[in-house]
């Protein structure tokens, strides 16, 4: 098993390398640079000035040279400076945003898991019951309603009309500390967290239901029952672990889906995360920031898949020897 995990981690490295090339390549392919926007905004400035700045920033160097310069500084942890925010360092810009997005993603994933798995199990245990039908209905809605739309409705009803939840931001007052601040943060994350996790919750609920039903019909479950195992042992010992195998693989991809969804959800809730920063940086053609965020998202997705593979190998003994 350790061999498998090590092998899996080794595969991670070339994938990381490919990721850097893709991120850099995409940034190169995108039209214009940080100075294009400024020159359009202010046609009175002599284009020669921008050309000099380009030269100074190294934007006119051959692409492989630019890539080499970028990758070597990235490897040293230097993500460069923003071209827009008065040359503030990218790392500094991203730091707090990154933490916010991680909190939100993690929170949303927790909601997804805590809601979808138990409901999926229950639906499978009592198929065609009232709750099963309810869950099915919710599942269709959850998949059919776009994130941003659900978010807007949630804001309208739950924060504007009822005032139960804040409509935006991460904290209300900067003064609070300790446990109170923690609760305040959670309070702010509930609506965006649910919005972000909605589609995932619906999907995993359905998957879980059909997986559990599938496993319940399998030969080894019949064996367990023939051995006199209790209903709870049959469900929670013999069925659950088998039913989770495919779910865990999907969860690995879910990290990527969540981060993609975060870009829009954060925008709806004006949540200061990587997503909002990403959108504004793309608009401003602030490529060092865009590239850094793309790198971070890419790495997170790779890590998600790596974790899924590792969990998979822990939960399913058959994989370890292949």
């Amino acid at each position: 098993m350790y061999k498998y995990i090590i092998r899996r981690i080794l595969v991670f490295i070339p994938m990381l390398f490919i990721l850097t090339i893709m991120v850099f390549g995409l940034a190169q392919l995108a039209p214009g640079d940080a100075l294009t926007g400024q020159s359009l905004a202010d046609p009175n400035v002599d284009p020669e000035v921008y050309e000099q700045q380009r030269e100074a920033l190294g934007l006119n160097d051959p692409i492989p040279v630019q890539y080499g310069r970028w990758i070597s500084s990235v490897a040293q942890g230097d993500l460069g400076n923003s071209l827009v925010f008065n040359g503030r360092s990218v790392a500094e810009l991203i730091e707090s945003r990154f933490a916010n997005t991680l909190y939100l993603g993690f929170f949303s994933l927790c909601i997804t898991i805590l809601v979808s798995i138990p409901i999926g199990i229950y639906s499978a245990k009592r198929p065609y019951s009232l709750l099963d039908y309810g869950a099915t209905g919710f599942g269709f809605l959850g998949l059919a309603i776009p994130n941003f739309f659900f978010g807007l409705i949630a804001i309208y009803i739950l924060s504007i009309k009822l005032g139960w939840f804040p409509a935006q931001g991460t904290m209300s007052a900067p003064g609070v500390t300790g446990f109170e601040a923690f609760i305040d943060r959670i309070h702010h994350m509930i609506l965006p967290g649910i919005t972000l996790g909605l589609a995932g919750t619906a999907t995993y609920m359905r998957y879980m239901r059909s997986e559990v039903l599938d496993v319940l019909g399998s030969d080894y479950i019949r064996t367990a029952r023939a051995k006199g195992m209790s209903d709870s042992s049959v469900l929670y010992k013999h069925t659950l672990r088998n039913a989770l195998i495919p779910i865990i693989t999907l969860m690995g991809f879910e990290i990527g889906v969540l981060l993609g969804g975060a870009v829009i959800t954060e925008q709806v809730f004006q949540y200061p995360g990587l997503g909002t920063l990403f959108l504004s940086s793309v608009t401003n053609r602030d490529y060092p920031v865009v590239m850094a965020i793309a790198m971070i998202l890419g790495i997170l997705i790779l890590i998600g898949n790596l974790l899924a593979d590792i969990f998979y190998s822990i939960i399913d003994p058959r994989i370890r020897y292949d």
Partner: protein, 329 residues
């Protein structure tokens, strides 16, 4: 045999209620008893209702199936009306069952040791350590080498024959009174089949169990069974001591099954088989269920289904050909 039967099945009916209002009468009014230490074979082609009979005894019938009527007594105790929790104390403990597919019958994500010890811990309330020791002993008893190592292995690391041995070890672990084996060797290599059957016969002696051996292979019957029940269309069509049944075969269906065996005395070519297939359980013919395939079919056979009659002492047949024989004496 005047001992109390370990298993007594009376007028058992297990039906499946299918979507389109069809009712599959998988087991349709079956009665039989099994006495301590006996090996009884239940034979019949695929689809004749053997597995459903066994699963009914275990009370493991899933929807849309249901035991509609009848009594099942284990050691004189009626189990039909037991609640699910009470039933878990009987399964694996007083009656154990082995299935056809050893490749899928074990849980792929737990070790062999885990799967054997859990049954000992459940029924015998053993400690972890005692259960482990006992499980290793059981594995040795069923002829598994390197028992200690196998305890830590997973089902996918074992061959089909080995897995069936593990299933047997699990089944005998609580020394049940009755072991039901549903085609235990059908999925195995021919070379392994005899080994597994011999092992089961040996275990039966060692633990004084009764054995209900389900098979579609009549060849197995003569070697292992004391008594044979032939099943067709959810009913028993012939029932007798093995010797009697093989020597004085009555029912045309049983004759057909026996003829389909390769016979040493005759031409190897002449592999007689019964024409046609078992009718689906939701669409039996009006009269005798075998009438459509029977070479001796009479007009009467198409009108009504004959009863199972005792035409000689301990020899029961469901066929109009022997209608008057029982009454003559």
């Amino acid at each position: 045999m005047n001992k109390e039967p370990v298993l007594d099945v009376e007028q058992l009916k297990t039906y499946f209620y299918l979507d389109d209002d069809k009712v599959a009468r998988a087991v349709d009014n079956i009665s039989f008893s099994i006495y301590p230490g006996e090996t009884v074979a239940l034979v019949g082609e695929s689809g004749s209702g053997k597995s459903i009979t066994a699963l009914s005894v275990m009370q493991l019938i899933n929807k849309p199936g249901r035991i509609v009527e009848g009594n099942i007594l284990i050691d004189g105790e009626e189990i039909i009306q037991l609640n699910p929790k009470q039933m878990t104390k009987i399964r694996g403990n007083e009656i154990a069952m082995i299935f056809q597919e050893p490749m899928t019958a074990l849980n792929p994500v737990y070790t062999i040791g885990n799967q054997i010890t859990e049954i000992l811990r459940k029924h015998k309330k053993m400690s972890k350590i005692d259960a482990r020791d006992k499980a290793i002993n059981l594995l040795k008893t069923v002829g598994i080498p390197r028992a200690e190592e196998i305890m830590k292995e997973y089902p996918h690391q074992l061959s089909g024959g080995m897995r069936q041995r593990v299933m047997i070890a699990m089944a005998i672990s609580c020394e049940p009174k009755l072991l039901i084996a549903d085609e235990p060797t059908t999925a195995l290599d021919v070379t392994i089949q005899a080994q597994i059957l011999d092992l089961m016969a040996e275990m039966k002696e060692k633990y004084h169990m009764a054995l209900l051996l389900i098979t579609h292979d009549v060849g197995v019957v003569s070697e292992y069974a004391d008594r044979v029940m032939v099943m067709y269309g959810g009913q028993i069509v012939e029932h007798a001591q093995t010797k009697e049944l093989l020597r004085h075969t009555k029912h045309p269906y049983t004759k057909g099954l026996l003829e389909s065996l390769p016979n040493m005395d005759e031409d190897a070519d002449r592999l007689g088989t019964i024409k046609g297939t078992v009718p689906p359980a939701y669409n039996f013919p009006a009269g005798c269920r075998f009438s459509a395939r029977c070479p001796f079919v009479m007009e009467k056979c198409k009108q009504s289904n004959p009863e199972l009659e005792e035409i000689e002492t301990d020899h029961f047949v469901r066929c109009y050909l022997y209608e008057n024989e029982g009454e003559q004496e």
